[in-house]
Symmetry: C2
Subunit: 304 residues, 2 copies
């Protein structure tokens, strides 16, 4: 059986079936260290899937560091160190790597996270696999499914900019790639949120994906579409290219904003409530889709 | 400037130049945790560089886990958890992944190391980036350059089998790939060695590379070529294909055996002494080469 006929979640399930013990997946793996949890996360980006060599290498480097730190942010943690496996073909320009490293360091330095090396290998394509290690106080760790009925649902920042950038780029407007790459790790926000909230995740795969993951047995996120904070570029691209605004803002992902549930608003915008009417709703109708999943519908995300 | 005109070590130096602070590179990154060091290592293998899809997927999975754990072994540590970033094209067969996972688990289960997930992405080629996390008592950690004058030099296992396998495979004998992949993490040996020795590294890039890295300012490994434990396949391949035995056993690498220095033999075979006559010597002549380095002479290691 080829992967193309499976979704990402089915492949992951298959792996756990072989392992014989399913990990309780969250944004990070967490290890009990007595008075705190250690957080470990890894995120890969590859040429042809997440970027192409023509794109701004410095922005790719920033993006790479940001999406790795974002997983620490989603757990309410503080990043401690960063490492990276890097691989490239021998035909690659050294300048690309130099710019990439500079961008990566801009983000790491801002959060005082030391880069501690990793692995360097030859490969058929350019790829980077990051490792972020951090920690969080035991009473401040946030998990995806620690939602409670009656809590409000909140989100940082705005939705749809990265999706809009992608469709601009797909339609020949090179600048679009800069919007795809323009993400920021919500470390400070995550620390604030974790003082009160217990359930959080980052929007790597979109708000519909958060609805899928942030649920208990029979209740979860009930989101009002009309309350979403939407980036102006998403409106423009939706109109110019006829792409549903719902898809750009809930189905595509790549925002790396934080969505959390809490008994009160800490920061961001209120977009719903935790109850048994799970889903994203517009005019009484549930919006379809469960977010971006590799190997299936959104395969051709960045060309090739 | 293209990477093809640079060696791996020059590229790594370039990265640290940008970072502005060079990591004291060893087999693992180590973090001070009060009464112990935490060890973190990452190792990537990619299709076309380290294996091809035709090879035995289960053996590739064993190899992948083994080379990652090997870095923990080289520091004298105990592995705690394992994670993996995996990426593949949509055309890949699910069976390949299943066999790969089974092989990986054979090694992990033998050392009671839980697999804790990681990342799964679409990519232009098949690749796996592993993360092994472990720990070591402070008084038992082994570093590459903690050598002392007068100590003996020792190595576990035998040298040259993986290089021999590579040249068999390159010459159309498919079975050769199984020798390349047949490595074993010397965790138990590393634990024994660390009771006495303070300097150790694994032979991922060959014995000549160990000579390069395991040195103080003006002394290091003085190795007698005639005392090396050589795998019988290396003799055969050297004779059959006219490849120097010295290259197969010291210049190619891939054995993942441990080389260590110590005031007395703990296990393995004595192959030299630590003094100011650094190098691998045969009939009074120094053998050239500094081990396998990517992006330069040995680029075409596994085809493509």
């Amino acid at each position: 059986m080829k992967f193309s006929s499976l979704g990402e979640r089915e492949i992951i399930d298959k792996i756990w079936e072989i392992v014989g013990k399913k990990e309780n997946y969250d944004d990070c793996v967490y290890l009990d260290r007595g008075n705190y949890y250690q957080l470990i996360t890894t995120d890969f980006i590859g040429e042809g899937t997440h970027f192409i060599e023509d794109w701004n290498a410095k922005k790719i480097g920033r993006f790479f560091a940001a999406i790795n730190l974002s997983d620490i942010a989603a757990m309410g943690g503080k990043p401690e160190i960063f490492m990276a496996s890097m691989f490239f073909p021998k035909s690659m320009d050294l300048e690309f790597l130099e710019e990439f490293i500079k961008g990566m360091l801009e983000i790491l330095n801002e959060f005082k996270v030391p880069y501690r090396g990793g692995d360097l290998k030859e490969s058929g394509i350019i790829g980077f696999s990051g490792i972020a290690i951090g920690n969080v106080e035991k009473n401040r760790m946030m998990l995806r499914n620690s939602v409670n009925k009656g809590e409000g649902v909140y989100v940082t920042g705005e939705l749809g900019k990265q999706a809009a950038g992608y469709f601009l780029w797909k339609n020949g407007i090179g600048e679009g790639s800069n919007y795809i790459l323009d993400v920021y790790p919500r470390i400070r926000e995550g620390r604030e949120i974790s003082k009160v909230a217990r359930a959080c995740m980052d929007l790597s795969d979109g708000l519909a994906s958060a609805v899928y993951f942030m649920k208990k047995d029979n209740y979860g996120l009930n989101i009002d579409f009309d309350s979403l904070p939407i980036h102006k570029l998403a409106y423009e691209v939706s109109e110019d290219y006829g792409i549903p605004l719902e898809y750009l803002t809930t189905g595509f992902g790549g925002e790396y904003e934080l969505v959390y549930t809490s008994s009160r608003k800490i920061l961001g915008k209120e977009i719903g409530v935790v109850d048994d009417k799970i889903g994203i709703w517009k005019n009484g109708k549930r919006i379809e889709g469960e977010g971006y999943a590799h190997f299936s519908k959104a395969l051709d995300k960045v060309g090739r």
